[in-house]
Symmetry: D2
Subunit: 399 residues, 4 copies
């Protein structure tokens, strides 16, 4: 049986793109929509980001904000570019952002920073596994030196081992500078494995560079309680009158909602409890050249609402798995770079500020969404949209 292969070469080109479209046999209109002139001009530039290139998909970008943030790294008023095809999303986040700003801004804090890789080792016996685990946990110094040789930006933070029968999972945690860092930690781990192969006191049967213990691109209880990428928290206090004027509800109703929604998360076994982090994060990640697949892990966390003693609303969010960078991935592509410049007010936002802005964005989304569910605007916004009516005000929300 001969299976057709996709035309490839060491260097991608217009001609190859055209050949691929011929192979697809789709209508010229489709080709034109993806392989437009501008996209074709960038073929070489894209070749570090994609294989089997056939063009670009154009995702509309809207801005939300300004959101005022008093963070450790993000400080000031920010507009956030959100790339999405889902109506009402930008409007909802923008409403939340503006309410935060009207309330004087939100606090934000980067609480921890670390990206993990978790190689797995199998042995013949539990005794060997236990011996290896004890040994490996004592190798921090050696592994840190090996790590440093792989990249000037990679720094090993810790080495822990977890034994399960004759298997050992080794958790390596790294700092990765301005990069999101998944590739950096992969290369560092590969170098560590070579070092282990030459020095370990017991020989393993199998060794895998990543044994699925790092939580890479999936929601996990382990990453929720710890950190993957950046752990950030943001909080705001909304005066009672602001809740009434802008969200058309009361702090009492919003905290009642929170209790019910949090327990729904518990009862259905979600990782963390929150209304909705995924909408905003996916849109910001796509706009800013981040790895959109990381939404699977980044969109977990905790939202908490409380009735403050002064009758206002206290709200906070914590996102333990924000994976963002200002270099690497898609951050160097023209339109993605432009979005990073929008966030960074001229220059690219640094990775830590970007992470705190993710928390601020999530907080904005929660306030708008929960407000809409309490006031009844949630259904109304969707109803209007369904009838094709353009939205008369920004008080809308989307789940």
């Amino acid at each position: 049986m001969t299976i057709p292969t996709i035309p490839r070469a060491a260097q991608d080109s217009h001609a190859l793109v055209a050949e691929r479209w011929r192979a697809l046999g789709t209508a010229a209109e489709s080709q034109a929509a993806l392989a437009d002139e501008a996209s074709l001009q960038d073929v070489a530039r894209f070749s570090r980001n994609i294989e089997n290139f056939i063009g670009t998909v154009k995702v509309p970008v809207g801005i939300a904000g300004p959101v005022r943030v008093q963070g450790m790294h993000a400080r000031g008023d920010y507009y956030l570019p959100l790339a999405t095809t889902e109506a009402a999303l930008v409007a909802s986040y923008s409403r939340g952002a503006q309410i935060i700003t009207e309330a004087g801004g939100c606090a934000a804090a980067l609480l921890a920073e670390s990206v993990g890789r978790a190689p797995g080792f199998s042995f013949v016996t539990l005794a060997e596994a236990a011996t290896f685990a004890r040994w490996v946990e004592a190798q921090y110094e050696a592994f840190a030196m090996v790590t440093a040789r792989t990249s000037a930006h990679a720094k090993l933070l810790s080495v822990r081992a977890n034994v399960e029968g004759n298997h050992v999972y080794v958790q390596l945690e790294f700092r990765t500078g301005e990069a999101a860092g998944q590739n950096m930690v992969t290369l560092a781990t590969a170098a560590i494995l070579q070092h282990v192969a030459g020095t370990a006191p017991v020989k393993c049967e199998h060794c895998f560079l990543e044994a699925n213990y790092s939580g890479d691109k999936k929601a996990s209880a382990h990453s929720l309680a710890g950190v993957r990428g950046k752990r950030v928290s943001a909080e705001v206090r909304l005066p009672r009158a602001l809740v009434a004027d802008r969200l058309h509800t009361t702090p009492e109703c919003m905290t009642e909602y929170w209790r019910m929604a949090a327990l729904a998360g518990v009862l259905t076994g979600t990782v963390g409890v929150q209304g909705q982090f995924a909408n905003g994060l996916a849109a910001l990640y796509i706009a800013c050249g981040q790895d959109a697949a990381c939404v699977a892990e980044s969109a977990t966390g905790v939202t908490r609402l409380e009735l403050a003693r002064d009758g206002g609303l206290y709200a906070c969010v914590t996102l333990p798995n924000v994976i963002v960078g200002s270099v690497g991935g898609g951050t160097g592509l023209p339109s993605q770079r432009a979005c990073l410049h929008v966030v960074g007010k001229g220059g690219p936002a640094d990775a830590r500020a970007l992470a705190e802005l993710c928390a601020a964005l999530a907080l904005a989304g929660e306030l708008s969404l929960i407000g809409a569910l309490c006031s009844g605007d949630f259904a109304r916004a969707h109803a209007e949209r369904a009838r094709g009516v353009t939205l008369p005000r920004q008080e809308v929300a989307r789940a």
Copy 2:
């Protein structure tokens, strides 16, 4: 305090976009990268998909395949367009797809179809809550009629109630035709709530259209065991020689990896156990105008590898929360529509076929990724990439 607001109007226009860019104060280069001529021409078209529009982000698209599928709805050889900025991703999925095809194709099955909304009701007492729960579970017929009036495509499947003290969560499950359906079920639920308000035997204190029990855009144990959107499974048998030739490893090593990786998922508390569904799904969703935020829920599921009696490899994946549609969302935008036509070989793929292709894509990704982790190609691919070397062969994988 005056907070600047983003320029808006009932009808979006070039002038408004320009005004927004002035407000952002970013360099002209950034504006040009997003607000290019073609994007500006589509301002009106985008206005049903975005608010506060400032342009489009261009995400490169590569094709993976062909993947041969014997599904209930998808049958034949398919090329899948993947939009991503992460190098090696398309190459890895494409490798997996081709291996499946060389093995004669994968089976795929749509196992269940349903989208839920879960309004929440609070009462004064547990007794009232229990009374309401009994009543509401008997209202299927009435609610189904109400649902039918809201859309010709919406069909109510079931009504279940869950009591927690004086709170009641009501799970409404719907079919939504060719649409992903989140908006459709929101409108149907709003109509049901109006009906409930007029007919329920006990009056609630609060009623929320969605009380966070539906699993919307988050990984949940509840949706994993059930269905959210579409539940699909795919399987393939790879001859031993094919594993050796194309993945450079053995079925024994791959099943050993699977055991270790599955238990890593268990130990770290992931929802489901799998190597990596998020990469492929995010890329396919972005390309095809699906809701990228749904990756948070769709990227959960189960992968299983077994050593077959003939020495080959049996592999299957199950994805219970695939949220896709062939209408609605971004499916009508030009470049997204073009990608749907690539999938559909000329016309748009129907939603059920698209869901089965998601399973096939996930299966392809698992085979390529696990193969690379077993053969050592995983680290090699990343190393080459880091050195800026173009990849000499397709045997690469990416996590």
Copy 3:
């Protein structure tokens, strides 16, 4: 190698017990403590409950209460016998019970009743698995008849199938009358499997009576959202003054604790969120001849505290997996029967009332524990105990 075997016979006897003790070679004092006269007299009676009998362990029993309950099945004031060796446990639950009673009692409701068995079937292909799943879900009538022939008390409630690749899990749900029912559903399932073997349209490779899908004796998200055994809820409203007088704290502090404790459960990935159900349930189960291993599943659920509008405290608990019976297991043994009579005020409590009392007990424990953590009595109680001082008042709690 000869391995010693434990002396056994069709009929157990004093002589065999003595032989076993000789084999153990332990001091006479140990033998005397377990194989006392009374225990030996009951050798025959115990033989339906234990193998390799060597005597009885004496677990001290204390009473907690009275707790006033307005349930659907339990109505009135109850004393609950708790068997434990952990100091302060009975005192803490008794304090909570009395506070509930002083507040006028708690409401309680049996919300659902069902015990599951989940046989697993493996097939060669996904297609066969899907075919079998469709078939089996249509067999309710036939399976219900088969079930009825195995026991007058067993009633099949539902049949659902879940496909994962070429595997099918079948969830059979049953009512089991006054028995906890695990054995009853095992026998019914065995009969159903025989029926399946003769009638299924596709032949399975393997068939297992229980494939670990039923949640038997383990905490699971699936059982938390559904029911295993009996799902019960209880609630109470404590006037502000009662919280001050008896718990030495305020409703505000207790709700603040609840929020923090609930999110700690979320962050650490517990099944449900609660302070502590295990202490009370384990003690009641051991006293009343229930299956103590079921604590692993029964001790999950949800506690919720709210500040009421009148400044008092609203508290509720929901336990979805209470596994209790008034017949079977250890319920017929003399001292266990006596405990059941204490609960039942002369006769054995029926299973449904017993389940509601489990909810009331859990509620009492939560109030006392959280009260102690808020007032500081928690540490004090333990400090006194550590110094060997008998406790001067009942205001103590234990975790």
Copy 4:
């Protein structure tokens, strides 16, 4: 309203017990079954273990074994006393134990040891919380000294802080010598809190000794991946012939079962994946004076079965949350002490050996249970029991 109170005094006595029985108003037969002569003689002895004492419940004890263990702390052949009222349980574990012994014994290893307490602190702002968290993580030395003053056996191992908005959870981890240690860590934590109150750089709003972050008596993902009490693993290799002779099945069938059962655990959201740890642990804990409520946390973990290259079976279990001690709790009561002497072959088993024996016991149970499910003996055993027939051979199992 006057609520009856249970008769109490600083010193418990026969008279008080009699008074309590009068208050209960139960038949004399019930009183006799609980408040027998021997139990009454021990009133004073029990007063350190129970309040509101009314007698003892007699739980039958059977022995399982011998199980041969090559552990780090448990070495040799052991008989394990199991207290249960569930028929077939002892027989099943005993069968598993003997098979392990026939195979030459199992390896066992204590992998980690630690008991946690997790006080919670609330602040006004996130900034204060972050400041406190940084401070508290630097206080290990000071806290360790405070800890040492509370008990000669308590040793502080680590201090970690987790920030969620304006809340901080502090995880204190301790060694507790021969005691299970929950009370010891409570007292140490109370002392640490007093120290914190006098030295912290920011003042908290609320401080709770335990904020539900320690996993105390509940299954949690956090404790599964880490340790609570003692983390132990055990493994065995069964020759193919032994599986055939004693379990009447094949290693292939058992590994097929394991795959299906493990994924069932994943799909239903259990904490860990295992057939059944709760039965054996509950029975051993009750017999040996351990805290039976800890079954809720101890019964989580991981079982893994593999087909070995020689055609035999490799099996291992890992239990990360075994909470056992040789002093404290019920370990000093006569019949419980006697059981500890049975385990310890004359003297009490030390805590670490006891933990390794828990792993061996769990392994025995898994082998017997899975064997029975593969051979069909599972249903047969229950069927015989239901007909009241005494079991003709030991090949039975119980779930």
